[in-house]
């Protein structure tokens, strides 16, 4: 297995199928660190960023008539 394939497998394992959520996790923790650096209370920032990002990724979703019985991984 080439180094490129190994890196691709690691990327796929860590980042998964939606890079936006990996970015959201980074942003949530990064913003917390920044707020802390200013000496402010920061515990609220990670949940707000993470949940807002999750909702944002779901903004176009709507129920499908065929989704109840088929399979998926």
């Amino acid at each position: 297995m080439s180094a490129r394939r190994i890196l691709a497998a690691i990327w796929d394992f860590v980042v998964g199928d939606d890079p936006r959520l990996a970015l959201a996790a980074l942003a949530a923790i990064g913003l917390t660190a920044v707020v802390c650096a200013f000496g402010l209370s920061a515990w609220w920032s990670a949940p707000v960023v993470a949940l807002a990002a999750l909702r944002w990724t779901l903004r176009g979703a709507r129920p499908s008539a065929t989704s109840a019985s088929r399979t998926s991984s």
Binding site: V15, G16, P47, L54, R62
Partner: protein, 256 residues
Amino acid sequence: MSGAEASLALSVFLACAVEAVEALTIVLAVGTTRHWPAALGGTGVAVLVLAVVVAALGPALTVLPLGVLRVVVGGLLLTFGLQWLRKAILRAAGAKDKHDEEAIFAAEAAEAAAVPVAAGFDGYAFAISFKAVLLEGLEVAFIVLTFGANQHDVGLAAVAAAAAVLAVLGAGLALRAPLARVPENGMKFAVGVMLTSFGIFWGAEGAGADWPGGEVSLAPLVAVVLLAALAMVVEIRGRGATAGPAAAPRRGRQVA
């Protein structure tokens, strides 16, 4: 056992049980249609590889400074948790197909039966079982490691994971059929909520935040994440099935 330890054990147990059910379906399909010894051989080797990964990386993770460990582990758990939760929300809202072990079993069995069986050792059955158990188990091994290292209790996490595997294996052997009645989609929703909550908690703590009340705030955090996720389910359901296509699953690793 503290509340955090109980949450850790429950999260690892649920995550492991879900992945074990999925792996069991594939091993059963390959074993019943082709060659049981090869299917079980592939399963055994994959379990050994996973055990080696946990044994090798567990002590290495605990060497990291606590702050660094919590940022890294929190970030990864949050990434995994958000992915699990997104898919669970889509499934609960009817925007993504639900996991159906019987249908997956039928599809895997048909695929396995279509490949000619060579004389002697069945490499196909071995490889498919090995790959299924390794891929489904890798993420659980990671969850065991990260939860365990952060709580300084890899042993408890490993015991919870082993208990889940044994429970699923026992049920699978007793039924000799895919565990279609396991509330897999609900369990995935719960795991997504727990991983996201722990990821937020540890990630923020590692970044320097002080949670009000320390670990006590974990329970309200889980409640907030759960309520937000349920609200998103209700919101998506409210959009109805009239306009446009449903959100398509994105390509790549299927984590949950």
